[in-house]
């Protein structure tokens, strides 16, 4: 299978790899996927409670090149955005940006789920009402 240039670039130079302290009240952690399915993404964001701006984002991903690229791209995109703006990122945006083929769309779905899960975790820490994580559309 041929990969798009952008996927290869994110794979070779993944952005924002690493971990943030998950006990930090300002850090939200999203862990989605399952090892049996061949994809696990951990996405973490440090969010300013005053401004609701995502100041830092880190990821680690077990998965194919497209999964790595999707989560790497997600960290790039959420950084500097507000929580509300980040929640508006759709998996289809990721598909378009990375030119993912149909068989890899689930990677983008997982990245959207990871963004929502991380923000959900942060909101929970701040006692906010957490709407049930919406499933991204396929």
């Amino acid at each position: 299978m041929a990969y798009s240039e952008k996927v290869v670039d994110h794979y070779n130079n993944p952005r924002n790899v690493g971990s943030l302290p998950k006990e930090d009240p300002n850090v939200g952690t999203g862990l989605v996927g399952a090892p049996e399915c061949g994809d696990v993404m951990k996405l973490q964001m440090k969010i300013n409670p005053e401004t609701q701006v995502i100041e830092e984002a880190k990821f680690k991903t077990f998965g194919c090149g497209s999964a790595i690229a999707s989560s790497s791209l997600a960290t790039e995109w959420v950084k500097g955005k507000t929580v509300e703006e980040a929640l508006s990122i759709k998996n289809t945006d990721i598909v378009r940006e990375l030119s993912l083929p149909p068989v890899k769309i689930h990677c983008s779905v997982l990245a959207e789920d990871a963004i929502k899960a991380a923000i959900g975790d942060w909101k929970k820490k701040h006692g906010a009402e957490v709407p049930a994580t919406e499933k991204a559309s396929h």
Binding site: G33, E36, G38, V40, K60, F62, G63, C64, V103
Partner: protein, 406 residues
Amino acid sequence: MAVTLPIYMDNHATTPVDPRVLEAMLPYFTGKFGNAASRNHSFGWSAEEAVENARQQVASLINATSKEIIFTSGATESDNLMIKGIAEMFREKGNHIITQAIEHKAVLDTCKNLEKHGFEVTYLPVQRDGRVSLEDLKAAIKPTTILITIMYANNEIGVINPIAEIGKIAKERGIFLAVDGVQAVGKIPVDVQKDNIDVLAISAHKIYGPKGVGALYVRRRNPRVQLSAIIDGGGHERGMRSGTLNVPGIVGLGKACEIAQKGMPEESVKMLGLRERLRKGLEAKLDEVFINGSMEHRLPNNLNMSFAYVEGESLLMGINDIAVSSGSACTSATLEPSYVLKALGVGEDLAHTSIRFGLGRFNTQEEVDYVIDKMVQVVTKLRELSPLYEMAKEGIDISKMKWQTA
């Protein structure tokens, strides 16, 4: 010696044509282009002579006689012919067939097809080491069993089945034994007499011959095996396989068999040396790597290893100057990891991290060393990227976690 990239280490998928094989084939495309079935001129005679010579070369490799070899378009056809041919010919004797879970699809799908036509098929499980249990086999035999079909060696994990013991069991009970010998023939000694094999499928392109040609050994004595043809036509190959013979391909297969037979003692030692260098190199430099399948009963050129916490396709992407294959789901259209590893009881998480290395005649020690270094470098990089590796290092038992499955 410098290494030329990319490195080919996927010799279970196919092998390059040996230059000696190509040289033997070339005259049969041009000057000696005759139809082996043309009985009344020299073009036909020289083609026929070449085919009969090849038949002898193939027979010799497996301790058969040349009259017991028929030529086909490849091992998928040979597998189909041996199973459907026996099933059809002997259906009045019984309708039960025994095979096993990790056969090649050419066997499994043929059996599934027969199930739709009134046959009953038992798919034996395999043991953790990838071999069939003789006790399971004996227990599966019924009065209606007419055929046992078990592969000599598996294409993913290289594990060798106890074919001689299976042959003995089959013979004692008057059941035919049909063997997919694709990965074993030419790599390890295969003797149809010692092993009591009744029908054996062979492929040329796995043993440095050309694609598009294969053979089927069909026993003529003790017992005589008869097959119903699956292709109708001019009655070539004793009526079992009609169609003009692929003379250059057959010459290539014959030559490939001759080279394999002569070179086997030396070549298997070389393969084993390279394979062990690869295995030890990887095991010394990486933690949490696991071998899939028996190391004791294994082809000398195979290594199938899981690199925990690193998904196979991303690994292949990182080693894109090395040609190997992965049991990961992402490499297949079905998103299911390898059915072979699953049948062994390898967890799906580890199946996703497996790589199959298939060494071949033209691999060198320098290439093996390059592969080790590259694998170590990429696995290390991807583990730094892997949340599972991080969790494992923190002492979290990943298998006990609750995962959100899609």
